[in-house]
């Protein structure tokens, strides 16, 4: 075969053209672009009709309204409810991640009964009827043995219909042992009870205030109702209100404040008293209020004059004299100054003296019961069920002293003191706890000295958890009776802490229950009915929904229509006759009750020579640290100087770090009298030398793979320090040491 140029060219061109014109390459190319767009393993969300459901979030106690976007029967996005009095459209990272909890792997999908050893993670599915029957049997047995008072309940809240049903159940059953998760609310309740009188929450009219003096409160780090506080902070930016942050660490709140004063941790009360000293000395206090509407001032004044002059306070707090004087003047001269306390998010109740000293500042400048000031907010009285009839066993059970000692002679003003429970159980001095119910709480994670708590709880023969999610506490339970999540159930959401007006939110089923769960309210009613007798008699409702509707009365329609109910007629109380104290006035101090705001150094655990550093916790809005652990999205927002892989960072001043020869990012062994942990070091200029800080909300176990094992639980490293007057936990940190690991 002879090939000439022409033949060659036609061969080449013909071949190329032939292949190109054949459908093969084109088809293959087209196919490849289609394949790569729809791999079978990439989900294609189903489209459908969009609808919106208004509800309320109860992932924390903030009480925000939410609007959930749905596609057909699926919830696809949670948004803040517009025009809601608490959050007006804003929403926090945890609330936004709610659907990851609803549909997530952490859900308890079925009532479970423990098989095998406690904490072994072995469970058997059980039907609701048999689970309730078994529990009722145990409760019945205890009751017939006159042991009804040995049944306890730990609840995340004591307000609203579900906690009220619990309380009612325990009352007619015969146990005084309802315990609430500790928080700053405990302290503020006592402060208001003593100084204002009555049983109520404080309402802070932050939105109208013009000077906010915060003693370590994480105003924008989750204190109070988090979204509302961030909104208030923005309002202050618009109005020019000043924010002063007293904090050993440059928290986000401190960074956003107008002025940050680093203070020796634990000496906040001294500073508050020092400020009062200056205000009184310079005659800057509100004489009308103090003279005409308060008592106990004289006594307190002499104490202040003697013990808290600026030069002395400066030594205690590490804040210099001139600053103290200047700050006092500014606070007193502002027209709407508010002083607040409760460190960080306020997860620890704190020292009563400190709370009183800080709140006394508000009274001193007369910013009580005024626009832009502080007043008491009683819950709307919609839960006015008929008094239940108690049988003899119930009466005798209710007469027993509470296990935690709250309300006893030693702690007369304290309502709950859960932090004392582990020690009480371990000591065995009173009576043993035979059964424990846990609802809306995760004490095995949130209580300090986790190991001790675990040991104490291990002694409780019978634990029932109502948690919707697997967590540390439910892992230890004998039964898990999973509640619907807040997106699957009805529930009233009472006024959030610190909010100045009564408001009720309504959680309502956004989606059908996804799993075999039951409303905890229904479970209580069912248990009561099965118990029979006077117990059943105290629960006339068919189910929780009927109970809730009846309880809310005509508010129900408003709640269904608007998503919330607020008291439009509510007005701040006046100075005249609004104080429910023995004197009918604001009380700075009271001899009979035995209180006088003063500074008593709050010693923390640990020997200074052995543990030269001080460990304090810090809270982040990007990390949930209450009974619900952070969902994946929230974890994702964390900076890589908070957590890297599974290692948590502790913040340390570079000076301190250099002295300890610890480099940025280096591993270190953190020890406290309570425990040890491997951590990484993060140099942070914004922390007092000698102090180290650790984020709260990490170190979970037994939740889900996205949370477990990340970092260290701060509560493991710290123990409670009891406030002598109240029995509450006033620990603000613990002594610690760091060594190269």
């Amino acid at each position: 075969m002879k090939i000439d140029r022409r033949c060659f060219l036609s061969f080449v061109i013909g071949g190329a053209a032939g292949t190109t014109l054949s459908p093969l390459p084109w088809k293959l190319m087209d196919d490849s672009s289609i394949w790569t767009q729809m791999w079978p393993w990439t989900p294609v969300p189903e489209d459908g009709e969009i609808s919106y459901v208004d509800s309320a979030c109860s992932l924390c106690s903030g009480g925000c309204g939410i609007t959930v976007r749905k596609i057909e029967e699926r919830a696809v996005k949670i948004e803040g409810m517009k025009d809601h009095p608490v959050n007006d459209g804003g929403i926090c990272p945890l609330g936004l991640s709610g659907l990851q909890l609803l549909y997530g792997p952490r859900r308890v999908k079925h009532p479970l009964k423990k098989v095998g050893d406690r904490g072994s993670g072995k469970w058997a599915k059980i039907s609701w009827d048999s689970a309730i029957a078994e529990i009722v049997k145990i409760l019945g047995k205890l009751r017939s043995n006159n042991q009804s008072h040995t049944v306890g309940l730990i609840s995340g809240s004591d307000r609203g219909t579900v906690p009220s049903l619990f309380r009612r159940f325990l009352t007619v059953y015969g146990s005084p042992n309802l315990m609430r998760t500790p928080s700053l609310q405990d302290s503020y309740e006592i402060v208001l009870n003593l100084m204002h009188g009555g049983q109520a929450l404080p309402g802070f009219d932050f939105e109208n205030a013009d000077f906010i003096l915060s003693f370590g409160s994480g105003i924008i780090d989750g204190w109070g109702s988090p979204v509302r506080m961030i909104r208030a902070n923005s309002i202050w930016r618009n109005t020019g209100a000043k924010v002063i942050q007293i904090d050993p660490r440059l928290s986000n709140t401190a960074a956003k404040s107008d002025k940050w004063f680093p203070i020796n941790p634990g000496t906040e009360a001294a500073l508050a008293l020092g400020l009062s000293h200056v205000i009184i000395k310079e005659d800057l206090y509100h004489s009308d209020f103090v003279d005409n509407y308060s008592v106990g001032f004289g006594e307190w004044k002499s104490l202040l004059r003697e013990d808290y002059p600026p030069e002395k306070v400066a030594k205690i707090t590490g804040i210099d004299e001139l600053t103290i004087v200047d700050l006092a003047r500014k606070f007193a001269r502002a027209s709407k100054p508010i002083a607040i306390c409760g460190r960080g998010r306020g997860n620890t109740p704190g020292s009563l003296n400190e709370f009183m000293a800080v709140h006394a500042l508000n009274a001193l400048v007369g910013n009580i019961n005024k626009t832009g000031g502080v007043w008491v907010v009683a819950d709307p009285d919609y839960i006015d069920w008929t008094e239940p009839k108690l049988d003899a066993k119930a009466v005798s059970g209710m007469q027993k002293e509470r296990l935690d000692g709250a309300g006893s002679k030693t702690y007369p003003f304290t309502r709950y003191s859960l932090n004392r429970l582990p020690a009480v159980i371990s000591s065995g001095e009173t009576y043993p706890l035979q059964a424990l119910f846990v609802s809306g709480a995760n004490p095995l994670y949130t209580m300090s000295d986790t190991m001790a708590v675990r040991e104490a709880f291990a002694k409780i023969p019978f634990i029932v958890s109502f948690s919707s999610y697997m967590n540390e506490t439910s892992q230890l339970a004998d039964f898990i009776l999973p509640n619907h999540t807040c997106l699957e159930r009805y529930e009233d959401i009472p006024t959030p802490f610190g909010f100045p007006r009564p408001v009720i939110g309504l959680s309502r089923p956004v989606v059908e229950p996804q799993f075999n769960t039951a409303h905890v309210g229904d479970v209580i009613i069912k248990m009561a009915k099965e118990m029979g007798g006077s117990i059943a008699g105290a629960f006339p409702w068919d189910n929780y929904e009927a109970c809730l509707k009846e309880t809310l009365g005509d508010r129900w329609d408003t709640l269904i229509k608007k998503g919330f109910w607020s008291d439009s007629r509510f007005k701040a109380p006046s100075w005249n006759g609004s104080f429910d104290t023995p004197s009918g006035k604001f009380e700075f101090a009271n001899n009979t009750k035995g209180f006088l705001p003063q500074f008593k150094p709050v010693g923390i655990e640990g020997d200074e020579t052995l543990y030269p550093l001080i460990l304090i916790p810090y809270d982040l809005t990007r990390l949930a640290n209450s009974f619900i652990g952070a969902p994946p999205f929230v974890i994702k927002t964390l900076e890589d100087t908070v957590i890297k892989a599974n290692d948590v960072f502790i913040e340390i001043n570079p000076e301190t770090a250099k002295a300890l020869r610890l480099r940025e990012g280096q591993y270190a062994l953190l020890s406290t009298p309570k425990g040890q942990a491997r951590v990484k070091v993060h140099w942070f200029e914004g922390i007092l030398p000698g102090v180290i800080a650790m984020p709260t909300g990490l170190g979970h176990l037994g939740n889900d793979e996205f949370l477990d094992g990340k970092g260290v639980n701060y509560n493991q490293l710290v123990g409670p320090v009891e406030d002598p007057g109240t029995g509450l936990d006033k620990a603000w940190g613990i002594r610690a040491k760091l060594a190269k690991a």
């Binding site: 090939i3 140029r5 060659f8 672009s33 394949w35 790569t36």
Partner: protein, 437 residues
């Protein structure tokens, strides 16, 4: 056994020895293929690339092999267009090396993209404003040209040449080779340049950004120039390595020296241009964005000013001065050093223009990003080296790559050359470049 395939008048090692060698290199190749398959099936999470290092070892390897593969087009240009006929003895090898470099580059690109099955979108949905589009088109076309240039050499195999069809095909192709050489040079000018443009147009990255002529930033011209300058050095280097390994003289000195001389002058002019460019960038361009030159060379564990000095002085002026002097060219050791430095220099330049660009924080609150490749990246980068060695070995054994070989090595009583496979494995010149970050 395979003696019928071996070109006439030359001596080759025994087949078992050859097979052993190929087998050893194939093991490395297999490792690379395994890593490649991992990347294709499991995705680019197999690499240590990240959102800061979207381009990394592979893109550097790509740019580097294309730069050092530039010997093919430039030698072709010199021989066919400028009539430097002395180069005919090295042109085959230059084409082969170019073919290897460019096929490797295409393979690496096919691994590097996140959706390899959609790779053809770059042609189908082409954005004419993108430098990468220009690269893709010219690169692919030029690879076609190289294939066409390589085919006649394959056809010259003793057995294939016997088939009249192939014989004529080969003859015809040879005749029109000048056309392809010209096309190749034209295409190369653009894709080498647009590879430079890839970094130079990044006005969000003040380390890379350059002003320029029309749509092309100065890096466009610098890249073309440096490839033309250093590509031939790589051809010389590989030739020298092949000679060392085979213990034969394969190319006459005149060809090598001519190429070395031209290369030397090219490097010198290039490095002067590069110096001016760097100076202008450091004194005018970067400060206009609020940055000083040292901002790009400090506060990090790797990228110090040493890198600039190495690139311009040690790997620029030094080889240039060696190569432009007759003494330097003629001294074997000096020649070795010069071509090696030149190759290292151009590879270092490509590293800097890819990886340092991405390492540097631009936002004031951002951080230096450091990177070390994963074994999968390293394996897939070594893959083309192994493939190149195999292709060179096969071509050398069965094709008349070196026209002078028989003449320079008459088949007299000659000691049998024994090729140590391990020795051959060592000739991975790319490893000279610090592949560390």
């Amino acid at each position: 056994m395979d003696s019928a395939l071996i070109p006439k008048g030359v001596k080759r090692c025994p087949l078992w020895q050859f097979a052993l060698f190929i087998g050893a290199v194939s093991a490395v190749l297999g490792w690379g293929v395994y890593a490649m398959l991992l990347c294709w099936f499991k995705g680019l999470n197999q690499t240590n690339m990240n959102d800061y290092y979207g381009f990394a070892l592979w893109i550097w390897a790509d740019l580097a092999v294309i730069a050092i593969g530039g010997g093919a087009f430039f030698t072709g240009l010199l021989k066919y267009i400028f009539g430097k006929d002395d180069l005919k003895n090295i042109i085959n090898y230059a084409v082969l090396i170019g073919f290897i470099c460019y096929s490797s580059a295409l393979l690496i690109l096919a691994i590097d993209i996140g959706q390899p099955l959609r790779g053809w979108f770059i042609f189908w949905h082409a954005n004419v404003h993108s430098m990468l589009t220009e690269v893709a088109f010219c690169l692919t076309c030029y690879f076609g040209v190289l294939t066409i240039e390589y085919i006649p050499l394959i056809l010259e195999n003793r057995q294939i040449d016997r088939v009249p069809f192939f014989h004529h095909l080969s003859h015809n192709m040879h005749e029109i080779m000048a056309v392809f050489a010209a096309t190749g040079a034209f295409l190369s000018f653009f894709h080498q340049g647009s590879l430079g443009g890839v970094a130079g147009v990044l006005f969000g990255r003040p380390f890379a950004f350059r002003e320029g002529l029309l749509v092309w930033p100065w890096t466009f011209f610098l890249f073309t120039w440096s490839a033309a300058a250093c590509g031939p050095c790589f051809t010389i280097l590989v030739t020298k390595i092949t000679e060392a390994v085979t213990r034969k003289k394969l190319v006459k000195d005149n060809a090598i020296e001519l190429l070395a001389k031209i290369s030397g002058w090219m490097i010198l002019t290039y490095i002067i241009a590069k110096t001016i460019d760097t100076w202008y960038w450091a004194k005018v361009l970067a400060p206009s964005k609020g940055l000083t030159m040292m901002d790009f060379y400090s506060n990090n564990p790797l990228y110090g000013i040493w890198i600039l000095i190495t690139e311009i002085v040690i790997c620029g002026f030094v080889p240039a001065f060696i190569l432009i002097t007759k003494k330097g060219r003629k001294n074997s050791l000096a020649l070795w050093i010069a071509v090696t430095l030149a190759v290292v220099g151009v590879c270092l330049n490509r590293w800097v223009m890819v990886l340092q660009v991405l390492a540097i924080p631009v936002m004031t609150f951002d951080i230096w990003a450091m990177y070390f490749p994963s074994w999968q990246e390293i394996a897939t980068t070594i893959l083309p080296v192994a493939y190149g060695i195999i292709l060179i070995a096969l071509s050398y054994r069965y094709l008349p790559v070196f026209p002078n070989e028989a003449e320079l090595n008459p088949l007299e009583p000659l000691p049998v050359e024994d090729q140590e496979p391990s020795e051959l494995l060592g000739d991975q010149e790319r490893e000279l470049i610090p592949a560390e970050a």
